[in-house]
C-alpha cells in the first residue's frame, strides 16, 4: 500500500505519450511526448502554429479526434470528455480567454465550480488582481483586453485544481502585471501547484519555469532545463529566433 502510494508520488503528474490530434482532416500533432513532475512549472515554447495550443487542448479533451496517451496522476485521460478531465483536477485557461459576455465580471469569476478544497477564495483572487474588484458588476467582455486576461486566470485559481494549463497568460498585459503574474506563479508553485505554460514571452518563461519543451510542427523536439538556458541560447535562437 505504502509502496504503491510512493510509486504514484514519484511518477510524473502528467505524462504525455505519442499524442496525436486532428482538426477535421488536418493532422496537427504528430506524436507529442513530455512529462511534468508534481510541483513543477514547465513551458511549451515554439513558433506560431507549432501546435502548442493544440497540445493543451488535446490534453484537456477539447479536440474531438486525438490518440495516444495522457496520464494524469496515474490515470489515463485520453478517452475522457473535457468535463471529466476538469473534475480529475486539471484547470485550463484558454488563449482567447473565453470571457462570457452574458455574465458579469463577478459571475465570470464565480463560474467554474470548485473541484477540490484548497482553492483560492474570492477575496484572495481579488487582492491578487485589484483591477477586477472595481469592475465586478460590469459585463465580462467590457473589460479591457488585459483585464480579461486577469479574469481568465483568476477564475481557475478558485477551483482548487492544482494542475494548471495556461495558454499565453501574459499576452497583452502591462509589464507591471506580467511581473505580478510571475510572482503569482512563483507563489502558486510554492503552494504545490503544477503548471504547464505556453509562452511567447521568452524572458518571462525563463523567469518562472523549471524546464522548457520546444515544440515544432506538432512534435516536442527538445527539452532545456532552465538552469542551462544560458548555454543553449544558440539552440534557442535557431528554434525560436530569440
Amino acid at each position: 500500500m505504502a509502496e504503491a502510494a510512493r510509486k504514484i508520488d514519484t511518477a510524473a503528474a502528467l505524462a504525455v505519450r505519442d499524442l496525436q490530434a486532428w482538426y477535421d482532416e488536418s493532422h496537427i500533432l504528430h506524436g507529442v511526448n513530455f512529462d511534468v513532475a508534481p510541483g513543477e512549472v514547465v513551458t511549451l515554447l515554439g513558433r506560431n502554429g507549432a501546435g502548442k495550443t493544440t497540445t493543451l487542448r488535446a490534453i484537456m479533451g477539447l479536440i474531438a479526434k486525438r490518440t495516444g496517451s495522457v496520464q494524469f496522476e496515474g490515470r489515463e485521460l485520453i478517452n475522457l470528455p473535457a468535463r471529466a478531465i476538469a473534475k480529475a483536477g486539471i484547470a485550463f485557461c484558454p488563449e482567447e480567454r473565453g470571457i462570457f459576455a452574458s455574465l458579469s465580471v463577478d459571475e465570470n469569476l464565480m463560474l467554474p465550480p470548485v473541484i477540490k478544497p484548497g482553492g483560492l477564495s474570492r477575496d484572495d483572487v481579488l487582492t491578487m488582481f485589484p483591477n477586477l474588484r472595481e469592475r465586478l458588476a460590469s459585463q465580462g467582455t467590457k473589460l479591457s483586453g488585459g483585464e480579461q486576461q486577469m479574469l481568465a486566470i483568476a477564475r481557475i485559481l478558485r477551483t482548487g485544481s492544482k494542475f494548471l494549463l495556461l495558454d499565453e497568460p501574459t499576452e497583452g498585459l502591462a509589464p507591471v502585471i506580467v511581473q505580478q503574474i510571475g510572482r503569482t506563479l512563483a507563489s502558486l508553485k510554492q503552494q504545490g501547484f503544477t503548471i504547464v505554460l505556453v509562452e511567447q514571452n521568452f524572458h518571462f518563461a525563463a523567469s518562472v519555469a523549471d524546464r522548457h519543451y520546444v515544440v515544432e510542427q506538432g512534435r516536442v523536439i527538445d527539452m532545456i532545463p532552465n538552469t542551462e538556458i544560458q548555454n543553449n541560447l544558440g539552440k534557442l535562437h535557431a528554434y525560436l529566433g530569440v
Binding site: 477539447l62 473535457a82 476538469a86 484547470a91 484558454p94 473565453g98 462570457f100 459576455a101
Partner: protein, 295 residues
Amino acid sequence: MFELLGIPPQALFGQLLLGLINGSFYALLSLGLAVIFGLLNIINFSHGAQYMMGAFVAWMALTWLGIPYWGALIIVPLVVGASGVVIERLMISRLYHLDHLYGLLLTFGLALVIQGLFRNGFGVSGLPYAIPAQLSGGQNLGFMFLPNYRGWVVLASLVVCFGTWFAIERTRLGAYLRAATENPTLVGAFGINVPRMITLTYGFGVALAAFAGVLAAPIYSVNPNMGADLIIVVFAVVVIGGMGSILGAILTGFGLGIVEGLTKVFYPEASSVAIFVIMAIVLLVKPAGLFGRTA
C-alpha cells in the same frame, strides 16, 4: 360619469384585466421560448405544437385515465417535457455546432409532424375540456364578471414565471446556462456536464409550454392548430422583451397582453398587428429589445 374616448372607465378596467389574463399566456409561452431560445440558442419552432400537446395530453389524461385537471397540471408538463428531452437527445443535440437556422428548420419540421399526427388522431374541430369544478363560476367585480378560472390562470402564471426567473437569474444554474450558450466547450472544460444541463433545460422549456397548454385547455378550444396560431405572436413577445432575457419575456408578455387588450377596444381591427408594430418600433429604437443585453 366621465368617459375615456367614449369608453366608460369601468369597461376599460374590465378590458385591462382581460388583457392581463391573455398576457399570462403570452408570458408563460414566451418564457418557455426565451429559456430555450435565449439559453440554448435554439429557435424552438415546435413550441406552439408542444403547447398544443399540453392541452391534448391533459384531455387524454382526463378522458382515458380519469386524471383530473389538478393532476394533469403536474403530470402533463412532466410527460411532455420528457418528450422534449427525447427530442433534444435524439435530434437537437446534434445541431448545436451549426447555425441557429438548422435548429429552426428541425423544430419547424417537428412542429409539422406533431400537428399532423394530432390532426390525424383527433381531427381539427377540437375537443371539449371542462373547467374544473373548484374553479367554475366567477366573481362579479362590479365592472365585469370575472370567471374564477381566469383569476387562477393569472395567479398560476405569475408564480411559475417568478419561480423560473429566480432559478435562472439568481442562481448559479442560470450563470452556467448563459455561459454554456456562448461557449459550451469551455464550460465543459470547467467540469460541468453541459449536454445534460442543456437537455434538461430544453425539457423544462417544453414543460412550460405544456403547462400553458393545460391552463389553456378549459378556455380555448383544444385543437391541433391552437399553437400554430400563437407561435408567431409569442416570438414577437420574446423579441420585444429582448432575447435571452427571462424578465423581459415575462414583463413583455403581460404588458403586451394589456396593450393588445386596449387595441381590441379602441381599434379592434388592428389588435393583431399592434404587436408587430410595437416590435418594429422597439427594435428600431432599442435593438436588443426592452430588457435585452447588448452583445
